[in-house]
Amino acid sequence: MKAKQHLAIALAGNANVGKSAIFNQLTGLNQIVGNWPGKTVERAEGKLFFHGYTIHVIDLPGIYSLSTYSMEEIVSRDYIAVERPDVIINVVDSSALERNLYFTLQLLELEAPIIIDLNQVDFAAKKGIRIDTGKLSTTLGIPVIPTVATTGTGVEELLLGVICVVEGKAQLKPLKVKYGKEIESRLEKIESLVQEKVPHLCEIYPSRWTAVKLLERDPDVIGKVQRYKEGNEVVSLAEASAIEIEKIHGENSPVIMASERYRIANSIIKDAASIIAPPQLTLEEKLDEITAHKIFGYPILVAIMVAMFALIFVGGDFLTRGLEVIFDDILIPTIANVLLTVLPSTIVDIVCGGIISGISAGVTIALPYIVPFYILLAILEDSGYLPRAAFLMDNLMHKIGLHGKAFIPLMLGYGCNVPACIGCRIMETERERFLAGFVTVLIPCAAVTVVILGLVGRYVGLHAALALYVFDLILILVLGRLAYRALPGEPVGLIMEMPPYKKPSPKNLLLKTWSRTKDFVYIAFPLIIAGSVVLESLSVAGLMQPLADLMNPVITGWLGLPPESGIPLTFGILRKELTLILLSELVSPKTLPQALTATQMIVFSLVTMIYIPCIATVAAMIREYGWKRALAVTVLDILLALLLGGIAFRLLPS
């Protein structure tokens, strides 16, 4: 009987090669998405059973190189070198083989057991690229398995390939990456010195790889070597060699090494791949031509955004109403009645008003907007539109010191600030991430839009609501620019791959939406519930009125709002649309236009828009940037809202 065995495999490869599609095909719903310990880099892992093996799959982040350009790259290479998965599946985009092989060569240098998943062969065939799988496999000395991730073709063979490698049935003769003579001779010297001086490091990383990285002046590896007593000797030899080869080639040593790897990759594809038909303008390319056009691209971008948010609002509104009936009219009274039989009424108030209405708030308000939003986002993402949007917006984003990619989280912010905040991870450096996060939380999310449209839009006029949005954009521009000046460090320019348009696969869309929604629930719900319990307890204990009195000087004196608005603004921390709901309850029997002047409505909406990122967003910020920065942003936003609200009250005609 064959014993049940556990295998660990990792998926590695460039971005946009269909890596997560392969991951979804392998694991289905059996996946957990989290963070790498101590890093804000997404870690997706899943499990499957195959031929008596329990296979744990880790989806490494999509990267182009194993250098130290980004956190994703460091995480990936440390995982491969230190954790040593049994097999690494290198997912390769057949339609961009040369660039993908560049990464494969780096994996080979890490001396990891690899098999190649030649993905999107259908797409390559469409582009007229024919790849000789057998030849590629013999040249590289590792198994090469063609797949089409979107349909699942070849995934079974891929797993069989993995098993073959594990059981030693596949003959592996991985290609040795050979550089030019002048580099090889120096590498040999460095390598033998590495083996001699830092033997402990060689147990983790292959000595040749260390030598290569030293020659490339990889700061991370240099630091690792220098931690050993005799490491400095190795580093100075490597530095001297780097200077020598720079003299010969007249380029930077990392550039020389990159050129060399590309030379090797190029010679491999010359053998194994051929273009059989001249590429014709496909439908996708025509679409690309229009949607990223320097003039027509912009109206299309606006149209797509408007359509997307209109759809979310209409759909979300419809779902919210339905769910509200279920929760508020049926579920909560029933639970309250049941609880009243065993518990005193104050506790029932806290439980029902706090915990259950917290959950109900999350389910009835957040989810109906979040789920459609995530579905539409996944469509934009998988089809390849987002990079086009980033391309179009690069110029404008540069005004606030960010590049085009930052447009993506900003756009997400109009739906909900939580995914937007997490979406800032696409930025390359810590500085850019924080800067993007900082401006993102100022974007009025769907809940704020409900308040602005429901109050200002309805009673003052659409032009005033629009003015608020425009004002917010100007504010973002100004604050972004200030933060860009204030934050230390250098901004980064845009370097982004533009993947071709593709038809998204429904299975991937649903899985993506599902895992993101789950993530949202994990971040947002605990704090929404805790927050409702605290506020409900305060009101049950009769502390709400004193609190409102305490805030009165600011609310009425400085902002010029009616005294009732203190409490709604406090509850708005939980969910911003609560401000409007509570306000209309508190001023009753008067209607809103009777209770508030136009100026007061505008000031109220303005404060709601800026004053604090809601509690779920704060939670997301804490996770992404640490509590110190999250607190700083929160305090700053509150002060800013009060300042601007006060100024608006004094400037606007009453």
């Binding site: 182009y64 190189s65 250098s67 350009y69 339609s95 961009a96 083989l97 040369e98 660039r99 560049y102 720079e246 080639h249 007249g250 380029e251 930077n252 990392p254 550039v255 990159a258 050129s259 590309y262 190029n266 990223a292 320097k294 003039i295 990079p387 980033a390 391309f391 179009l392 690069d394 110029n395 540069h398 590049h403 085009g404 450096t429 250098e490 901004p491 980064v492 320019g493 845009l494 370097i495 982004m496 791959e497 533009m498 071709p500």
Partner: protein, 228 residues
Amino acid sequence: MSRKEVYELVSCLLEIISMREVEGKPSQITDIAEELKRPVERLKMAVEIALKEGLIKRVKGTLKLTEKGRAEVQRHRESYLHRKYAHYPTFLGGIARFFEGKVNNWREHWRHRHGFNNNSLNQFYRDLQDFKGRIEDTLPLTDLREGERGIVTLMMTAHRFQGHHHLPGFVRRLAEMGLTPNTEVKVLRRSLFHGPIEVEVRGVSLALGYGLASKVLVKPVARETNES
């Protein structure tokens, strides 16, 4: 020949000799004339002047640059880059250049007026020294039109050029994305006002910010339609 023409011819001559030296080829007047597509007689005049000025010397029948000649090539290259690309090609850029006046000490000038630091300046001079080809033949990637191709000749590692700041790591990143020296790139799309450009390199399309792209110097490849 006017003085300007002579000056231009001499600087071309020096550039060609320097290029051939980097490539390890000997330089004879006939080779140079062929490369420059100019008559040998005119070139002889330029050689005479250059010899008299001590910019080149004759070693075993071939022409070699002297120290002075090498310095002259360097100066020629940096002043060309400065004139053409270190300022925005706009009216305001022209005014800024006018007020800078004549530059005597280039090192100081780059440092004070263009935000170079010592490291980036050294790299910049090294790049210039190893530059293969005539500097007049190069353009920043941003100057190519849609559909045009170019071969990457020089990446300005310099810290600041045309007012944009960038992490020095960008050259490495570009190389990793396939934009290595001597690679052919094709401009697929440009955008309005100094927006990003989209290029095709090694069968992949990449979007590059304007600031980055303006630091990648390419030698334009003649379009097939023009040649025939």
